[in-house]
């Protein structure tokens, strides 16, 4: 069966306003050399999904530059391949879609012209390496109308976050969909990955348009849960949702752990591709002192780096000290500057002798192109 992938690039932008000021959540840099969308696109390609639409809304310039023709993911295809679905605004109205359903109604043309049997929907806010092939295979085997991917999570203390939870019967069928404003105890939390028949999706979208429904999981699913067979798929691997800046920081720090690194990058059938830049290897100088850090290509390190994640092309001058920080591409830390619990967006500069620190749980954010 042929599967089309539909990626929502903007949903959840508001969770991470610092990082998404210039970009979509899909193009947020993560784990030293990737962007969030790399994991989604790579998993799709590794699962044989070679027709992918990326639904955009705003600030998608960096995303378009990153994805380009899709060549780095082998998605420059004659049939299928990757396409950016830009928002369709009618002359005079100027209104952009405000929810997932509208976004899809917006792109119904791509769905109608596709020759795929199934559609896989996914967001870009969760760091994970998910074998999408298994999910599609399970969907086909189970004969479900819709397969919904969830993670079983336990919260000792109640947590405020808008998430969708599933109640399952003994047959793995979703019998109830709940909107969890506050989460406590053990819940099946939706990962917002769905597989369903393409024609079913088109029908749902048409109907929703007629009735003015706003949300797929809050309006459509609860109303239809008896009529359509929604099956759950539990993913129990590593996941990290980028729900705020601290979670973003933690997601980067997680990759310093060997077991998580193995889970994200160790599966030979699921390599993660990204846009190539032809950077030189990273050069460590005579005075470099680097410990427990994840470092990308093209860096020049003369100073000290500990418990940190450095993206491509970062320069750490002699005497500079970086600890517990995430430094994005082409940033420069000059002589004797000191950074602790910092997230530094790309091309920022910390001048000589600057001392900047956040603290655990509250990393300090330095914006793109800022000079301190």
């Amino acid at each position: 069966m042929r599967v089309m992938g539909l990626v929502f690039s903007n949903i959840h932008d508001q969770s991470l306003p610092e990082m998404t000021r210039w970009r979509t959540i899909a193009s947020v840099p993560i784990a030293s050399r990737y962007r969030m969308v790399d994991f989604v696109l790579s998993n799709m390609v590794n699962s044989g999904i070679m027709e992918v639409g990326i639904i955009t809304k705003t600030k998608y310039n960096s995303l378009m530059k990153h994805v380009g023709s899709g060549r780095d993911w082998d998605l420059d295809r004659k049939h299928g391949g990757v396409s950016i679905i830009s928002p369709y605004v009618e002359a005079g109205s100027g209104a952009l879609y405000t929810n997932r359903l509208e976004a899809m109604i917006n792109s119904i043309g791509s769905l109608e012209s596709s020759s795929s049997d199934l559609v896989l929907l996914t967001d870009c806010d969760i760091l994970a390496n998910i074998p999408l092939k298994d999910i599609v295979e399970r969907h086909i085997e189970s004969g479900a109308d819709v397969t919904a991917v969830f993670k079983r999570m336990t919260f000792d203390t109640p947590k405020h976050m808008g998430r969708i939870g599933f109640e399952l019967d003994g047959d793995n069928r979703v019998v109830n969909v709940t909107n969890l404003k506050e989460i406590s105890g053990t819940n099946n939390i939706s990962m917002n990955i769905w597989v369903l028949n393409r024609t079913l999706l088109i029908n749902i979208l048409r109907e929703s348009s007629t009735y003015g429904f706003r949300s797929f999981s809050k309006d459509v699913l609860p109303r239809q849960i008896k009529r359509i067979n929604v099956k759950g798929y539990e993913f129990n691997g590593y996941t990290k949702a980028l729900t705020d800046l601290n979670q973003y920081f933690e997601a980067n720090m997680d990759v310093l752990k060997p077991d998580i690194r193995r889970e994200l990058f160790g599966n030979v059938d699921y390599p993660v591709y990204t846009k190539v830049k032809d950077s030189a290897p990273t050069k460590y100088g005579d005075k470099a002192q680097v410990k427990n850090s994840l470092i990308s290509d093209g860096c020049i390190i003369e100073g000290t780096v500990e418990n940190s994640v450095l993206f491509r092309g970062v320069r750490v001058d002699e005497g500079a000290v970086i600890k517990n920080s995430v430094i994005l591409n082409d940033s420069i830390i000059e002589n004797n500057a000191s950074m602790d619990y910092i997230i530094m967006d790309k091309r920022a500069i910390a001048r000589r002798n600057r001392v900047i620190a956040g603290c655990e749980g509250h990393p300090f954010f330095i914006g793109r192109d800022e000079v301190l």
Partner: protein, 405 residues
């Protein structure tokens, strides 16, 4: 009919690299790994595209499989073109017999039909043996200004080394008067870099003549260039003074790698203000430096996990250096594992090597007296085994299991 090209390049990539054995046991020399991320052929290919030459014939012969795969459709060098682009040109069967490429001139001669498609005015003849960054377009400009039949790139070498090269003597206008291959008593320090630009029609005529001469070795340096000079062709040198290194031997290969560690000299490989060298990528994660690791004056590529000590070395992708292991003054090619407490000193290790726990490969630079240890691909070196300085070990050698050598 292809679109006409003013200048195309023919890249001689059939080199066996026998002095680099066993690194070149399964690889043509141009496909050999270099500098942490690259292969030797990346340098001339990147130079071509950076010089505006978008049509490159790559002539392969010895162990071409990996080289062919590596070049593919030329995409990594922006050479995947509808008009032109990279073309791998192996020897092929013709209606009148089949020939391997006999010499450099014969290899180009056999590909006259390929070159004719583009009706070029000029052809650059390049080799896949050198590490350098050069603007072939500047050389072409001089070739045109001088209205030359042939222009040869030259570099000044110390007089005591001149007898290793093809040496050119010129008049005050850079016109070539004399060319001698490896002269015993050199009278000039201008060494040929093996980079030629020919006016196509003249080159074609000389290649056809050369093919008819049964006494010829069909080699540019030995036959074609002396013949042209003898006939009074208009031949000039193009002086080049930037970094250039022949990597034909183990020691020059090791030196050229080490030269990269000097960021201000050599290739300036990390300098974003100079033209990039492009390469084919493998999807590898960023490298990780462990809690007790120590990495100084080294280059580390993607996919590495370094828990031990690395000093003055070039480490390619997906190399694991375990805790307590030490790598010094060495070049370690991809997919190799250096296990706990192993020592690698002053060595070049090919791909997919497993250095066992506590094993010692090579001896420290200060003691080894210039004898580099070389390990061929897929070799397993058993735990605790010592490989002496200057040894050359291949897969399955008894020495890798600890037998005396």
């Amino acid at each position: 009919m292809a679109v006409r090209k003013e200048c195309i390049a023919m890249l001689l990539a059939g080199g066996q690299g026998s002095r680099l054995y066993p690194l070149t046991k399964f690889l043509a020399k141009p496909a050999l790994y270099f500098g942490g991320k690259y292969r030797i052929i990346d340098f001339p290919l990147s130079n071509c595209i950076n010089s505006g030459i978008d049509t490159v014939g790559v002539l392969t012969q010895y162990q071409p499989l990996e080289l062919n795969d590596y070049i593919g459709n030329g995409g990594p060098w922006d050479l995947d073109r509808n008009n032109g682009g990279a073309h791998v040109l192996p020897p092929y069967q013709k209606t009148e017999g089949t020939d391997w490429y006999k010499g450099t001139a014969n290899a180009i001669y056999q590909n006259i039909p390929f070159m004719e498609k583009f009706s070029p005015k000029y052809v650059a003849i390049l080799s896949g043996d050198h590490i350098y960054r050069m603007d072939y377009n500047a050389m072409l400009k001089k070739h045109k200004e001088k209205n030359a039949d042939c222009t040869i790139a030259v570099i000044d070498v110390p007089i005591e080394e001149a007898s290793r090269f093809g040496i050119l003597t010129t008049d005050e206008n850079d016109r070539i008067i004399e060319f001698t291959e490896k002269p015993e008593h050199p009278n000039s320090t201008k060494a040929s870099m093996g980079i030629y630009i020919f006016s196509y029609d003249i080159m074609k005529r000389y290649l056809e003549e050369d093919d008819k001469d049964p006494s010829s070795d069909n080699d540019f340096g030995k036959n074609v260039i002396p013949k042209m000079l003898n006939d009074g062709c208009s031949m000039f040198t193009y002086g080049f003074s930037d970094y250039w290194k022949d990597v034909g031997t183990i020691s020059s290969f090791w030196e050229a790698n080490m030269d990269l560690l000097n960021l201000d000299g050599g290739m300036k490989i990390t300098d974003s203000s100079v033209q990039r060298i492009y390469y084919r990528h493998e999807p590898r994660q960023p490298h990780f430096i462990g809690e007790n690791a120590r990495v100084i004056n080294s280059m580390i590529a993607e996919g590495c996990e370094i828990y031990g000590t690395v000093e003055n070395s070039i480490i390619f992708g997906n190399v694991h250096v375990e805790e307590g292991a030490m790598v010094r003054d060495s070049v370690i090619m991809p997919d190799t594992r250096i296990r706990r407490n192993a020592m690698v000193n002053f060595s070049v290790l090919s791909t997919r090597i497993d250095v066992g726990e506590g094993a010692a490969v090579g001896e420290p630079l200060e003691i080894a007296k210039g004898s580099i240890t070389v390990i061929g691909e897929n070799t397993v070196i058993s735990d605790g085994v010592s490989i002496p300085a200057g040894a050359s070990i291949e897969e399955g050698s008894p020495a890798a299991k600890g037998a005396m050598i």
